[in-house]
């Protein structure tokens, strides 16, 4: 099932994220990724959550959450009109010079940044769509991933459409 992207603008106060995730749990959806940060002025927080499920059922969940007092705006973003980005920090095992060379090549191919090089490790920053980040991870698996951390998806709609101005 496809990933749906749900964007929120909420009051920046304790318990709001708990209420959102509690509601998602109650309807038996699982959160695939979540990103959240307080906005300028810190009165509001923008949250992006992705979850797998029938888009029609996700829409019902969105309607339920729209009722919550501390949620200012919530909507499921139209996948055709949305830009999504994910970022990964990947630490590779590159003790073998050949492995290091190959790693740098793949990182370059994905327009990644090299954030740290030690004699036997490389840390790469890869930004792109979920698929691009997944593809990168697959390509470097045989070199040896020591550790990887991903931000999860953040997303924004194209053109003049915004969360506040649908």
């Amino acid at each position: 099932m496809s990933l749906s992207v749900i964007s929120f603008l909420v009051e920046n106060k304790p318990g709001v994220l708990f209420n959102i995730s509690n509601n998602i749990r109650r309807k038996n959806f699982n959160i695939h990724s979540i990103t959240a940060i307080a906005g300028e002025g810190e009165d509001t927080t923008r949250i992006t959550i992705t979850s797998r499920g029938d888009p029609k059922e996700i829409d019902k969940l969105v309607e339920q959450m729209n009722k919550m007092v501390d949620i200012i705006i919530v909507k499921r973003l139209d996948p055709l009109r949305t830009i999504q980005r994910d970022m990964a920090l990947v630490k590779l095992h590159t003790a073998d010079p050949m492995a290091q060379e190959e790693a740098l090549e793949i990182i370059n191919k994905y327009k990644g940044l090299i954030l740290d090089i030690k004699p036997d490790t490389v840390i790469a920053q890869i930004t792109g769509s979920v698929n691009e980040v997944n593809d990168f991870t697959k390509e470097v698996t045989h070199i040896g991933i020591i550790e990887a951390a991903r931000t999860g998806i953040t997303a924004i709609e194209k053109g003049w459409v915004t969360l506040k101005e649908p």
């Binding site: 009051e11 318990g15 509690n22 019902k60 729209n66 009722k67 007092v69």
Partner: protein, 558 residues
């Protein structure tokens, strides 16, 4: 701006908002608040268990349409109201619960009588909030009352740490309540009303299903007027009972699992079904496939998330019931429906063929309910508990005015009837208030009778005692080959003696004649009476649709 303690500000804000009653039980965390309450005109109604106090506040809210206030201490006081809060929330009743809390410096330390009631009640409240600044008390109290009693009404919990109630601050009692994420829609869009009016005008076989939204919005008069213009027979959900008078020629009564036959046969035959303020509960629709297979559904609700949730509608009206109905009436009032059209004739034929038998000689469920109706004034308030007697009342008890039949529909909370009746009596002391109970639910909260007696809220309880958890027993007879499991109650308590110790009058009747006599006496009396009616434990409540079946799959006989 005035400087005062949080406790005084709390009481002052409640007074300013017109609150006259607080139900609850005190405790260590509430000492400052209860001290401030001594200097107030607000009447404090002490309970015997917090669950009962919450149900009292809920009954008060449902009878009066004003928010009901329950105030309990931290920890166990707070957890004891969970059932009451969920009951109110599921039936969209404006209940505001104030919970004491340990001082902020001890929150999160597992202090004595500390519980995270905000976390506990997150999924059973419309909104909850812990006040962390004494200066915010007026705002929190006003916000809680506002959210509970506007839009789709519901339950709110406000948590008050003890130090916040003790500290002093500059209080602003004119603080504005403005949530950018909470703007309930009252007036529906004109185009929605136009569409719905067009469909209703074209309908040949219109049927209305009215729900709790009609009762809660006080739109019974408008609903009846619309039904009359459209000549549309009107069924109700359990919560919608009272939205049209039971003796109105277009009233079909309850539809759903224990709906009346005329309702359950006519709803699926509609070509346009207007569902007004009802959320299509599974108990109202039966199997969705058989609910209204050929109907174009118009769904009117104040809560947008209910529209198209269980049943897809052709068009919606999103807004408050009263405003929406006034708009609809304005658009359809020129329609002249014949009093003798095919549909109208069918309604009358149907209604005639399902006239109730008037055999009231034996003690049966329907006869007891009819006797209660006959004994009570038309504006009396009846509360029920949950189970067989509740469905008997839903089917057979005639209601003439909205807000006079109160029942726990969504959560189905046994033990609700007696305390809710006390709350209703507190709200409307001039009305007669009677609670119809079964022995199972009565025994859960009968201790609240001591509040009824000691605080002078005289109510009447008719206790249908079949010494069984009767509804479950009925399912076991019908669907489990009669194997009774965990439903028989062979306890030795004598209720008529028990209630005397609370100070109530208790009497057990042995015939319908005696029941009528006792009911007349109780209605004329100004003290609390419990009338115990011995029932046949094998009696089933009919009609019934077996779970998962459609509205027309009605069981009517043993």
């Amino acid at each position: 701006m005035t400087e005062m303690t949080g406790s005084k500000a709390y009481i002052k804000t409640l007074e300013q908002e017109g609150i006259t009653h607080i139900f609850g039980i005190t405790g260590a965390a509430l000492i400052p608040i209860c001290d401030a309450l001594l200097d107030s005109k607000i009447r404090y109604v002490p309970g015997v268990h917090e669950q009962g106090s919450a149900h009292m506040a809920d009954g008060y809210a449902r009878a009066s349409g004003k928010p009901g206030i329950v105030q309990v201490t931290s920890g166990p006081g707070a957890t004891n109201i969970v059932t009451g809060v969920a009951t109110a929330q599921l039936d969209s009743s404006p209940l505001v619960a104030f919970t004491g809390q340990v001082p902020m410096s001890m929150v999160g330390t597992d202090a004595f009588q500390e519980v995270d009631i905000i976390g506990v009640t997150a999924s059973i409240t419309k909104w909850n909030h812990q006040v962390r600044d004494p200066a915010r008390i007026p705002w929190a109290v006003k916000a809680g009352l506002h959210i509970a009693n506007t839009g789709r009404k519901g339950a709110v919990v406000i948590d008050l740490p003890k130090n916040i109630t003790q500290e002093t601050a500059e209080m602003d009692f004119d603080v504005e309540i403005d949530f950018s994420g909470y703007k309930p829609r009252i007036t529906p869009s004109p185009s929605e009303l136009d569409w719905a009016a067009k469909l209703l005008a074209e309908a040949e076989k219109p049927v209305i299903v009215a729900g709790g939204g009609i009762v809660s919005s006080g739109a019974g008069k408008e609903l009846t007027e619309l039904a009359e213009i459209l000549m549309a027979p009107t069924a109700t959900s359990l919560m919608g009972k009272g939205s049209i008078a039971s003796n109105h020629p277009l009233s079909l009564g309850l539809c759903g699992m224990h709906g009346r036959e005329e309702a359950n046969y006519m709803v699926p035959d509609a070509d346009v079904l207007f569902v007004a303020g009802s959320r299509f509960s599974d108990r109202t629709t039966g199997s969705l496939a058989g609910f209204a297979p050929n109907a174009r559904v118009i769904h009117m609700d104040i809560d947008k998330s209910e529209i198209d949730k269980n049943v897809d509608s052709v068009t919606r009206i999103w807004g408050d019931a009263k405003h929406s109905l006034i708009g609809l009436i304005d658009r359809v009032k020129t329609i002249k429906r014949s009093q003798n059209g095919d549909w109208t004739k069918k309604i009358q034929e149907f209604k005639r063929s399902y006239q109730e038998p008037n055999d009231n000689s034996d003690i049966t469920g329907p006869a007891v309910i009819r006797a209660i109706r006959n004994a009570l004034p038309s504006n009396a308030i009846v509360t029920t508990d949950v189970g067989q007697h509740q469905m008997l009342a839903a089917i057979h008890y005639d209601v003439y005015e909205p807000c006079t039949f109160l029942t726990s529909g969504g959560l189905g909370t046994m033990g609700w009837g007696v305390p809710a009746a006390i709350g209703a009596k507190a709200a409307l002391p001039d009305r007669k208030v009677l609670s119809i109970c079964g022995d199972g639910g009565f025994h859960m909260t009968e201790n609240n009778l001591s509040t009824a007696v000691d605080d002078d809220f005289p109510i009447i309880v008719v206790l249908l005692n079949n010494r069984m958890l009767g509804m479950v027993a009925q399912w076991q007879r019908l669907f489990m080959n009669g194997r009774y499991a965990a439903v028989q109650r062979n306890y030795s308590v004598d209720y008529t003696e028990l209630v005397k110790d609370y100070g109530a009058h208790g009497v057990r009747i042995e015939s319908m004649k005696q029941l009528n006599t006792e009911l007349t006496r109780a209605v004329g009396a100004d003290y609390t009476t419990v009338i115990e009616v011995p029932m046949d434990p094998e009696e089933n409540v009919y009609p019934m649709i077996p779970p998962g079946m459609g509205l027309k799959d009605i069981l009517t006989e043993d």
